[in-house]
Amino acid sequence: MQRRYDIGGQKVAAQTSRRGETLRLEIGGREHEAALRELGAGEYVLRLDGRERRVWIAADGDSVYVHMDGRSWRVRAENDGQASSASGGPARADVAAAPMPGTVIAVHVAEGEHVRLGQTLVVIESMKMETPVKAWRDGVVQKIHHPLGATFDRNAPLVTLAPVQPAS
């Protein structure tokens, strides 16, 4: 499986697989073999490609703290897969489209306004349910397609956020 880490600001992507107790890693095209033997109380012997080191390891949430080679490091796991698929989907589009036909019952932002991820833009009502349409990313409201009280069809554009210039 692919694991991504931030080690003191350095990004490391490691493909991992396992043979029993032995972990195989591929980092930047280089393959490594590693294993961990616990000595007790957070103390371990870490073997990497035949070299053994005494290390201390403690994990807390997404962070793994390692004392190795005379200093401590924080290794932060970065989510991939799920996080990226969440960032995918309609989230990348510039327009929020109506999930079903309905009526605009509240408009919380104005065109030109800066909005933050998760901020409610408009509230729509359809099938007797109120649904807030939230900002799917930070941005600037470019257009609110329907004024308060207007009705719209399924897939009609509701709010357009100004396009983001792709980072070069």
């Binding site: 499986m1 043979r19 195989r24 897969g81 990226s84 698929s85 989907g89 990348r92």
Partner: protein, 535 residues
Amino acid sequence: MHRIETHIDTHSEEFKSKAAQYRELVAGFREKQRAARFDGRERGLERLRRQNKQFVRDRLDQLLDPGTPFLELSSLAANQSYDGEVPGAGLVCGIGIVSGREVLVRADDSSVKGGAMYPLSVKKIVRALDIAIENRLPVVHLCDSAGAFLPMQAEIFADKYTGGRTFRNQCVLSKMGVPQVSVVLGHCTAGGAYVPALSDYAIIVRGTGAIFLGGPPLVKAATGEVVTADELGGADLHTTTSGTADYPADSEQEAIAMAREIVAQFHQPRKADIGQAPPEPPYYDPEELYGILPTDVRIQFDMREVIARMVDGSRFHEYQPAYGTTLVCGYAHIWGYRVGILANNGVLFNDSALKGAHFITLCNQNRTPIVFLQNITGFMVGRDYEAQGITKDGAKMLMAVVGSEVPKFTVICGGSFGAGNYGMAGRAYDSRFLWSWPGSQISVMGGEVAAGVLTELKVRQMARKGEQPTEAQIAAIREPVVAEYRRTSSAYYATSEIWDDGILDPVDTRNALGIGISCALNTPIEKPGYGVFRL
């Protein structure tokens, strides 16, 4: 089981000189393979870079679990076709480990002719998916193909085992409950659009991935509509509106990571239980095969020496060691899997054919996969042998091979001629995998014999016209016949035409068989059933 006693003196001059020759042969094969994988890609790779796409081999490296093997299939497909301009037939197929699961990977190589489908490309895909069906292997499709190579459409489209068969095979896999994941890394145009559509899971890369029945040029020609590839079949369209693909990804790397995560969700099916011993390397170094194998198929060698360098601990239980001695039969283990081995040590006589048929039924009775090691000039010919029923004994062997339900594996080590090819489970006999060694030859009869027969026919034709050819004329007739025969009977021609699943360095055969057997055990082993044996 006893360790095979070798009769090879690895310090002898003969061994050393044979080894040097065979190594040269293998080096030639390795060079062809390297060239097919990497050479002549400059323009294609430059285009890939511009498109923000990766080379197919880099994609594979990201997909496969680190430190795990990859058994590439038919790496030299199409090496003798299309003026050699479509190496590997424009795609990579193989078996490897993704998220701990054994999968078949089918990856388009768009650095070759934009990944266009030639007739042999289609044949390679059909074969790969047949392997997936026979061995119940989940499939990961890395899609990046320009679609059918239109000038050759007649050879690609309509026949039973051409284009439509690839999609038929995808449907069959799905029906069997074998999952497929497509990663759309480039265009999936026309028929290619069905590859993700028929997969259980489809991931598509924003910007570079697109799926459509008709690409923008075709749409413009057909309806006048001007539309970009992304608008027509890009990631956002298919993952938000059409539902043709399931997951959008922002990069190839992300898409491949998602594919790995999806494969990690697959159930690991139980394998057919044939009992397994702890694997053990051969006692004799497999590299010694180089000093044992001749580079000339006319030179005989003892298959026991080959078996000794392929099986666990070099141990072999030989069945009927004193009967039908031109066919060596017996049990051994490969990577811990018990196998029955049939290996040619000369021409097939009546007794060897009967022994072979008998041993095949034994292996079926005790659920033992069978490995055929071919070095066969054929069944014995001549009046006495016909009188003893050599044909009907050969027929028994064929009947046993076809009735066999245990998985079969075939390695063409040397010659593979005539009906010997059939009796020893040639391509038509549904071996789960069939591989060739670099020096092997395959044809309906031996080259010299064939050239002789063909020349004789020509000379007779001339004689009927009253011509009396001189020696020089006869030689002039004979030479091209021999040359053409040599070309079409070579392992490179066979593998180019996908008569096998690839050429193997003999030393690699043990691993290839290990993976092949492991795959084969995904499918339950049924009770054998045979037709009528002519007794």
